[in-house]
């Protein structure tokens, strides 16, 4: 008995949303009157174990096998399934990251257990775990429970507060060996290009987003560019020279509408919306975005929405707490300056 929280790592460091998963696990453990066990795999287990116990884990189960490369979904799944079989935890919780989704779905299949994914709220009623998750792009909420001894749960980013550190007792660490897991990786990594220094949209507390309106940059495109090419140039420069400075002052991530992505103004990984990322920052500033329903689907959970749009009738204003009707190429630089003065 226990509630497991899998602590995901990237290059040996814990992924920050894993600590939110640990918080969620601790909430369940408290209601179920059991302990919270952090599960850590791979190199650097000792440091992770210490951190996990500072952040609320009552114990740690570690497999410090150096051969457990972070990309080994097969090995991680086999190992997690062994631990589930041995300890029969009441729940296994992870962040709903790419790897968290894969790992928990795979291990849940191994033990024929229920998985409640993308949970934003958890509670226990009559001993059953009930997870609330958004469906239909957040237009509807659903409450789910599992029918199995172990309930697998992935939690959506920024839905559970990260735990506050406490002085840790010496963590009780159970070390396990990576026995009986596949030896040869079925997947060969041929190349990896890291993308560093970017604020991840899902974790961002503030997001500044640009839409099709970014193309109306008053700065003239270089001679020789016309039509579509000129629009792309203008929009790209707008993202780099007008939106990015605002994002930098705020420590924000940069988002975009699908129209901006499809037109080639900015790569797809910035897209917010039903076929992009779902985000729920404290502050979302939409610049030159009309607020189509598919865009709203990805950002309506933001705490405070600000709209900057030259069309007073744009639907985005209906969602916004604050709006400015005006040209973003005038408003955004003025806002950047005003914030710079205040934040200095």
């Amino acid at each position: 008995m226990s509630v497991f929280a899998w602590i995901e790592t990237a290059a040996g460091e814990a992924v920050s949303s894993s600590w939110e998963a640990l918080s969620a696990a601790a909430i369940l453990a408290k209601s179920l009157d059991t302990d919270t066990a952090a599960i850590v795999f791979g190199a650097n287990c000792d440091a992770l174990a210490r951190r996990a116990s500072q952040l609320g884990a009552t114990r740690v189960i570690a497999c410090p096998d150096e051969a457990l490369a972070e990309d080994r979904l097969d090995a991680y799944s086999a190992l997690l399934s062994q631990l589930v079989e041995k300890h029969e935890p009441e729940a296994v919780v992870s962040a709903a990251t790419n790897r968290g989704r894969e790992l928990l779905a795979s291990a849940a299949a191994d033990s024929e257990s229920g998985l409640i994914s993308e949970v934003i709220d958890l509670r226990v009623e009559h001993g059953s775990i009930i997870g609330t998750r958004p469906a239909y792009a957040g237009k509807v909420l659903m409450e789910m429970t599992s029918n199995s001894a172990t309930t697998f749960v992935t939690v959506r980013g920024r839905s559970f507060a990260a735990p506050t550190p406490r002085a840790a007792a010496k963590p009780e660490i159970e070390r396990v060996k990576a026995d009986g897991i596949p030896k040869d990786p079925p997947v060969k990594i041929d190349d990896f290009v890291a993308e560093l220094g970017q604020v991840n949209l899902a974790d961002a507390a503030i997001i500044v987003s640009g839409g099709r309106g970014m193309a109306n940059n008053p700065q003239a495109a270089p001679a020789g560019l016309s039509g579509n090419d000129a629009s792309i140039w203008k929009a790209k420069h707008g993202f780099a020279n007008t939106l990015r400075p605002l994002a930098e002052v705020l420590g924000a991530a940069i988002g975009a509408s699908r129209a901006a992505v499809d037109a080639g103004y900015i790569p797809y990984k910035h897209q917010v919306g039903q076929t992009g990322k779902t985000v729920n920052p404290d502050l979302y500033i939409a610049c030159g975005i009309s607020g189509a329903i598919q865009h709203q689907a990805g950002m309506r959970g933001s705490k405070i929405i600000v709209a900057i749009n030259k069309d007073a009738e744009a639907p985005i204003f209906k969602l916004a707490r604050y709006g400015i009707v005006g040209d973003l190429y005038e408003v955004v630089p003025a806002l950047t300056q005003a914030l710079e003065e205040k934040l200095r």
């Binding site: 989704r101 191994d110 509807v140 909420l141 789910m144 290009v193 707490r321 709006g323």
Partner: protein, 260 residues
């Protein structure tokens, strides 16, 4: 060579979706569309089966509601469609779902590559592909943004994956399960001939018994659906003497909201 893809019908993304008095999810009489993420997996399945000199099959699991998505797939150019349905089973549950899906893949027998969309735009669980791969014991390659090569005689595939920390190029043996992102291709539109062919197609339905599958108990139960609490938003439009005054007013409000 045989490429298989899975798809489903989802309400149009522009539809209003709500929970009615009986607690059921409804979108009125708005039409369903093929799950938008699956346009890319359908396109890739067609492209791979053509370049591999093989055939393509699309499978939906669930009620006849999904026939629309299957017909769209056929109209795009997928060779065969199949629907799996088991009366009385909770086919939305991913354990039941993946047991049925694995049964179909085993019955087909000759499948080299299974291609999924990134997620269902409606329920968005992003777990079906992983559980199917796990049940089959096949390699899972998720979030594929490009297939570098797929060699069906050497039985190897190399792909680029967009992972959270960057871009990974990986290779693995076939058979494999992949899920694809929108960067991977430009989906084609169904043409007139395709639409005519699809309209006439009879779609076979396989039950669990047809596939010789013993279905597991559903892993989860949906207890209830709720309309999200209405957000009380009072919008304040800021307008100062000039743009600098307006911007300062906004900056001031953001401080007061304590979001900075």
């Amino acid at each position: 060579m045989h490429a298989v893809t899975f798809t489903r019908s989802t309400p149009d993304t522009a539809a209003r979706v709500w929970v009615d008095e009986d607690g059921a999810v409804t979108w009125g009489d708005v039409a369903t569309v093929v799950n938008p993420w699956d346009e890319y997996s359908l396109e890739e399945t067609i492209a791979q089966s053509k370049s591999g000199g093989g055939e393509s099959t699309v499978i939906a699991i669930g009620s006849a509601l999904h026939n629309d998505a299957l017909k769209h797939s056929l109209a795009m150019g997928i060779d065969k469609a199949l629907r799996l349905e088991e009366a009385g089973a909770d086919m939305k549950d991913s354990l039941v779902w993946s047991a049925m899906a694995a049964g179909a893949i085993r019955k087909l027998g000759d499948v080299d590559l299974i291609i999924f969309g990134k997620e269902s735009v409606d329920v968005g669980t992003d777990q079906h592909a992983y559980q199917l791969a796990r049940r089959l014991g096949w390699t899972m390659l998720s979030y594929v943004s490009r297939i570098v090569y797929a060699d069906y005689s050497e039985r190897r595939i190399q792909v680029e994956r967009a992972v959270e920390q960057g871009k990974q190029t990986v290779s693995a043996a076939l058979p494999a399960v992949i899920s694809v992102l929108k960067e991977i291709n430009e989906p084609r539109y169904p043409n007139f001939l395709g639409i005519r062919r699809a309209a006439k197609a009879e779609i076979p339905v396989w039950s669990a018994a047809d596939m010789n599958v013993a279905l597991p108990r559903a892993g989860t139960t949906a207890l209830r659906f709720l309309n999200p609490p209405a957000r009380e938003i009072s919008t304040e439009i800021l307008a100062g003497a000039d743009v600098n005054a307006t911007a300062s007013a906004l900056a001031q409000r953001l401080f007061e909201e304590k979001v900075l």
